[in-house]
Each structure stands twice: as structure tokens, then as C-alpha cells.
Amino acid sequence: MIRTAAWKRYNWRVIWLSLAYAVFLIGAVYGFKHALVPTLLKYPVAILPAIPIIGIFVAIGRYLVEEQDEYVRMLMVRQILWASGFALSCATIWGFLDNFGLVGHADGYYMVIAWFFGLGVGGLVNKMTLGEGGC
């Protein structure tokens, strides 16, 4: 990806959110494993690791707003379209395989993993179709 000022800000946000995700996830897992979470707080604590992930989606949105280079912004939009298409296709295929009892049930958050993988696929497609300018 081309390192514009907006891209650098986006990267910092993602780094901080990833750190928060690791801390929240470890904390939530530890809390539940050792029965430290009071009943009243079970739902909020279980949701805690999801918040930084949602934050990453917000960071991507802010990046699109802040990016001044329209070509670079277009590259990211293409990546997002690829990511969404890839993740939704994976979820659809898995859903039918699951329905017909051919695969096990997958947790919902695997959709997010597929989406981020799709972002990488989109980057690769940009590179393949736009050459040097698609990086």
C-alpha cells in the first residue's frame, strides 16, 4: 500500500486497536476460565474483544474519509469490495455445507477472519491488474 499521511494514521490506529484486542481477549478468556466474571457482567465482558475489531472497521472508514489521494482511496475501496465479496461467498458456501451436514458449525467471527483475508486478496488483485500502481 502507498504510505500516505492518512495511511500512517490508519496504521497507528490499527496497531493500538490490535493491542487492545489482545489485552481484552486474554482478559476475557482468563476471567471466564477462572469464573471471575460476575453474572451481571458476563455479556459485556464477552463482547469486550469484539469492540477493538469493530474499531478497526471504523478506522478503515475514517481512512477512506481522510485519504486525500483519490487513486489510493480507490485502491482501498476495491480491496474492501473484494473482502466483502470473498467473506460473503465463504459464509454462503459454508452455510450450505453446514446445512447438509458436510462440515461442522463455524463460529460467526470466522466471517471477520475471511473478510480480512479477502482484504489481502483484494490487494493482490490490485497489484495484478494495475501493476506498479496497484501496490
Partner: protein
Amino acid sequence: MENRLRVLRAERGWSQQDLAERIEVSRQSVNAIETGKYDPSLPLAFRLAELFDRSIEDIFVSPSRRSSKAI
């Protein structure tokens, strides 16, 4: 979109990076526009036209005119 950006840039002895800095975009953007892989927005096309002191039509070849010439 076909354009004369490379020629205009070469006339001034500017590199892609020089032009990119002048219109405040990345070098990759200039490359994508020059090679016709990306069509700039109207505001960016105007920035280029003003920089080279030309009209937009002097820099970018209208796709419809190009196809009618081919006929």
C-alpha cells in the same frame, strides 16, 4: 483514458515524483493516470490543466471523440 501527460511532463523535465508533488498526489497516482489505468476526477483533471496551463481537452483525449475518429 488516453492522455498527453507524459509528453507535457517530459517537456518540463519533470519526473513522475515531481509532478506528483506539484498536484499533491502519490507518484503511483501519476503513473496510473499516465498509463490510462485510472481516470482522474474532474477536480484533479482541473488541477493538472491549471498546472500545465492547458485546457482539460488538451491533456485528455475524449473517449467518444477517439472512437468517432476511428470510425
